[in-house]
Symmetry: none
Subunit: 408 residues, 2 copies
């Protein structure tokens, strides 16, 4: 019998249209990894009876329920109370929960606000689940028929709790066989194109999933116990195009680039016009990035392109800021000034304004300077401002990745 | 009696975690404008019985239901059939629907594929609702107790149908008055502290909500028709602390700062160590930011602090990179070199490594230089790397905001 698994997302902002629920899709994708797909996702707001109702209904219908949200300290955080009502038990103060919350404040030399004490209340008989990233403890209730998990709605707090508490227990309780999940991380490929290239790849015991996290597309192979994923992975990389797959089960594109630089003992600097620091920010997402990232220039105004990177004002005047000569001059200028092994430069029209017939919105010139010279690339992205900038960051990093892979 | 209003989003990709449901939040926000908030949103996949079940449950519970998705021509589009089963009526071919679909193909000089004919099937007695942007007609079912709308899941097709068919009918049928929603945007305030300060603020016709979007906290006042929101807003600002509320129904903190700079005809530059471009990136989220943002320096390595901002190597050696004198020198150096009216500089330990007893992880020194001198601030953030950096960006922008509000 298939395991019926339901998700509940609690939060008035989700119902009121002020926020989009990303928790349920994230949890669904995680549990997909152990072979479970949800029967339904229910979103409820800050109404005690509505939350109680959906918890009671889900507990009666499903074998596994994961509920997020409503465990904060404020008066609109009602999930604890709703769960107690749904199970017909009182809320009781959990000593270990209270100690965890108090300790969290103590370690920061702050006093615990009186308001936060309510977060230590759990339905009687519930199991406390530690939240290492916040004050809202999670809890689990096992009705015999159904195992229910309750976690805070803040993704940064919820995600490690799902990984720590739900996955292994669901596997053990429902006798699921672990599947191997291989994630191929791609750039420069639309999701629909990736899906076309993977058409017909599925076979018994092999399911293909996609996740678009612009501008990246992840292709996931869910491989049943007993099937070797290695040759499947190689075939998928061939189908998708080896130049588009920047990593298999890897970190982000910036982390892959950083790893290559670190292994070679080399460094990079940046000169950014339209992206205004976003490439530098991405290169420093991981701790330890000072091993390979020196710094760079944010050259939004033309005068800054001249001052910080030595771009010739005559070249700016002749070709305009968004041009190959300026991109090359930015990359070569910042590399010479910082003394880095490599440099990345971008100049473009992010939009929505600033476009022309010759250089429409989305036009971006890239340059990567290195020990063997400078390479240039131009793209015309068709997106809005935010996505044009995200695509620019990824394309720049991928340009450096290609240089690192082909140069010795 | 409040109108119970439920939303249903149909689509396997929503359940499997491959896509995020943006339809329900969009419809919820639209209906919020006529004073309706949904009781729940249910997401179901491509299973006939699961869809039938949620339609039947919603029709029994609610007065208004809006369902999106599953009206396409393929075998996994099951909402038509599920609705007919839920209402216990047969599916019948609707002549007007068939004519609309055929006309849509004819106007493009294409022949209607046979498989699209299924889209003209509606539950017996349902009212046809025209889709001007696609081949999937919508329909409405009025059970007397409940009014249900069914629309395609493609946002571009669904949105004009909701605006054309749902809003006015809901207003007329349920005699609704619109509510006013006021959003107070705060920084430097934890959600629990905001809630403490707003304790007892609610009164008949006034509901308070909270939303934490780290490091920002939004406090929302939902004010019923007939109550003046202006004095309520002023009272809420006083309670929260005027220095913490950076905007009322405003854009982001960076947009507020940008607006102040633009109004004054002034400019800003940045010198960033630990944030490595994140402040510059935030200042350029909106189009037109070149009106006030010139550029800046990303000075990750100490040598770059010296080279790009003229920090005295002796000061670096004496006080260390994370120090008040270095923050001041960075701000003053970049301001002098770019010629900007204002400048922001940060230097800190984002973590997880790099901390010491004297300068633990989370220590950040800020400086804002301007026409009347330089102000300094130091913070010790208790978060992880990502959040320490987000909090640093917000604190820096808020420091500039304070200078702009107090200087003439």
């Amino acid at each position: 019998m298939p395991v019926r698994f339901d998700l509940i997302s609690q939060g008035e902002e989700l119902l009121a249209g002020q926020a989009v629920d990303t928790n349920a899709p994230w949890i669904a994708a995680k549990l997909q990894g152990v072979g479970l797909r949800p029967g339904r996702v229910t979103v409820v707001g800050d109404e005690l009876d509505a939350i109680r109702e959906v918890i009671a209904e889900s507990a009666a219908r499903a074998s596994l329920v994961v509920c997020t949200g409503g465990l904060g300290p404020t008066s609109d955080d009602l999930t604890r109370e709703a769960a107690a009502l749904a199970f017909g038990v009182p809320l009781v103060e959990n000593e270990a929960a209270l100690a965890q919350i108090a300790e969290r404040y103590r370690s920061r030399n702050r006093e615990m606000p009186v308001k936060n004490r309510v977060q230590a209340l759990l339905p009687e008989g519930a199991e406390l689940l530690e939240n290492v990233n916040g004050t809202a403890p999670g809890f689990a209730v096992d009705t015999g028929r159904c195992l229910l998990f309750f976690f805070p709605g803040v993704p940064f707090e919820m995600k490690p709790m799902v990984e720590r508490f739900v996955l292994e227990r669901a596997r053990a309780r429902f006798g699921l066989h672990p599947r191997t999940n291989v994630i191929l991380r791609c750039v420069g490929l639309a999701e629909s194109v990736a899906a076309e290239r993977m058409d017909g790849f599925e076979r018994p015991g092999v399911v293909v999933g996609y996740r678009a996290s612009f501008p990246e597309v992840q292709v996931k192979l869910h491989v049943d116990h007993g099937i070797d994923p290695a040759s499947l992975t190689a075939e998928a990389v061939r189908r998708l195009g080896a130049d588009h797959v920047f990593g298999v089960d890897s970190g982000s594109l910036a982390e892959v680039v950083g790893g290559l630089l670190r292994a070679r003992g080399e460094s990079v600097s940046t000169a950014e016009s339209c992206t205004a620091g976003r490439i530098a920010a991405e290169l420093t997402v991981s701790a330890g990035s000072s091993d390979y990232f020196l710094g760079g220039a944010v050259v939004y105004a033309n005068a800054e392109k001249v001052r910080q990177c030595g771009v010739d004002p005559a070249v700016l005047a002749a070709y305009g800021a968004v041009s190959e000569p300026v991109a090359r001059a930015l990359a070569e200028g910042i590399r010479a000034r910082t003394g880095s092994t490599w440099s990345l430069a971008v100049t473009g029209v992010a939009g929505p304004g600033g476009g022309s017939a010759e250089k429409p919105v989305g036009t971006v010139h890239f340059a990567c300077a290195g020990p063997h010279g400078t390479v240039h690339r131009v793209m015309r992205f068709p997106y809005d401002r935010t996505r044009n900038l995200s695509a620019t960051v990824a394309t720049a990093l991928d340009l450096l990745r290609a240089q690192l892979l082909t140069s010795t």
